[in-house]
């Protein structure tokens, strides 16, 4: 392998953290409640 070059390319995909996903989903759910799409959530 003398004189040859080994090229390894690593591509890292853009990924959101668990924290960020939790915030996005929670805010989307809050928007559904605010705009009447989820009118009432019982307990």
């Amino acid at each position: 392998m003398s004189g040859s070059q080994i090229k390894v390319e690593a591509k890292t995909a853009f990924r959101l953290s668990l924290d960020t996903w939790a915030v996005i989903i929670a805010l989307l759910t809050a928007a559904l409640v605010r705009f009447g799409i989820l009118p009432h959530v019982p307990w």
Binding site: K7, S17, D19, A22, V23, T29, A30, V33, P39, V41
Partner: protein, 361 residues
């Protein structure tokens, strides 16, 4: 010309495949949580109808107990594991939605008191755990992981610190097992201590948020006492979580100065990367609730959504607690954690009682 080398690659897993893999575990979390809710209602009404005097066992405890039995008696089947691991996602989403139950003024006032207590707790815990680790002859990086885990926020802090100080996998497994085992013990002991000392909801909630290390267990320990205590436990714990970046950065700089970890080039980027984003979500929802963006009914709905999310979290706390696996990790880190946690619990209890007298809560 460069030689081309074909590296073996795993085929990328599509979003839909990953999503469907989560479903069995999430369904199990929901089923256990809902069973806990049904058991609370039915056991209590059955006891009342038969004139039995039994303590009111809340859905929180039922959900944790069912999870513990499944995990420790039957074992968790592989198909459920990816979905069960989402319990932290539900916890964080639940905390963001819980922001609707706090006016920003309350967050400022209570968070301010909590912040003062959190500073004292973090400094005291780091110093004491470091002393104990040296006394018991633990490896220095394992001592650092245990100190950060007990001072800041349990498993997340240990994982963040592990990367920053380049600790071994074995050290982080030891530290995580000790913190989780102690969290499980706290779930059952904290409410008993709180009731025997007749602590107010506020005092108990702040204590649970200060002394219980993992956010899920701190939330559950609060909810086992009362709804109001759970709110305060979450607020105090969130204040602790917000400081994770600073503590991890300090440890990273310390280990880098000893030539045993990489130096941190961009400190601001490091802090942002480690900062728990759900704290910002919590503050945003609290701000929206404060300016009247939601009606009273909508606030109630958001609070209920937060409870449903926590229900899945509590089921996950039981399911991921496996005593056999914890025992395998060895006794010494557990002993250090155990002694340290008892000292921290007593220290923070004294701190909270003194502050409660001073600030009348």
């Amino acid at each position: 010309m460069a030689d081309a080398i074909a590296l073996p690659q795993n085929p990328p897993i599509s979003f839909s495949t990953r999503f469907f893999r989560l479903l069995p575990g999430v369904a199990l979390l929901a089923a256990i949580g809902f069973a806990g809710k049904l058991l609370e209602r039915n056991v209590n009404s059955y006891a009342k109808a038969n004139h039995w005097v039994i303590p009111n066992i809340e859905y929180v405890l039922w959900a944790i107990l069912i999870g513990l039995v499944i995990s420790n008696v039957f074992g968790l089947a592989e198909i459920f594991k990816p979905g069960v691991a989402t319990y932290e996602f539900w916890l964080k989403a639940g905390i963001v939605l819980l922001g609707s139950r706090f006016l920003l003024g309350d967050v400022w006032k209570l968070g301010g008191v909590s912040l003062g207590l959190v500073f004292i707790e973090i400094i005291g815990s780091l110093a004491f755990m470091t002393f104990l680790g040296r006394l018991f002859g633990l490896r220095p990086k394992l001592t650092s992981l245990l100190a950060v885990g007990s001072a800041v926020c349990g498993v997340s802090a240990i994982i963040a610190t592990k990367g920053a100080i380049e600790a071994d996998d074995e050290d982080s497994s030891f530290a995580i097992a000790a913190i989780l085992a102690l969290g499980a013990i706290a779930l059952f002991t904290f409410p008993l201590v709180g009731h025997s000392l007749h602590l107010s909801d506020r005092a108990y909630g702040v204590w649970a948020g200060l002394a219980v290390d993992n956010t899920a267990e701190a939330t559950a320990a609060g909810a086992l006492y009362s709804d109001a205590a759970a709110k305060l436990a979450v607020l105090t714990k969130t204040t602790r979580n917000a400081l994770i970046g600073f503590v991890v950065l300090a440890y990273a700089i310390y280990w880098a100065s000893r030539g045993q970890a990489h130096t941190v080039a961009n400190k601001a980027a490091f802090l942002w990367q480690k900062f728990p984003k759900f704290v910002l979500g919590f503050l945003l929802v609290s701000l929206l609730a404060t300016i009247g963006f939601f009606t009273k009914d909508q606030n109630a709905s958001l609070a209920n959504l937060s409870r449903w999310a926590f229900l899945l979290t509590f089921a996950g706390v039981g399911l991921r607690t496996n005593f056999r696996e914890m025992r395998r990790q060895g006794l010494r880190p557990f002993a250090v954690g155990f002694i340290g946690e008892i000292a921290i619990a007593i220290f923070t209890l004294g701190l909270v009682i003194a502050t409660a007298r001073l600030f009348h809560f």
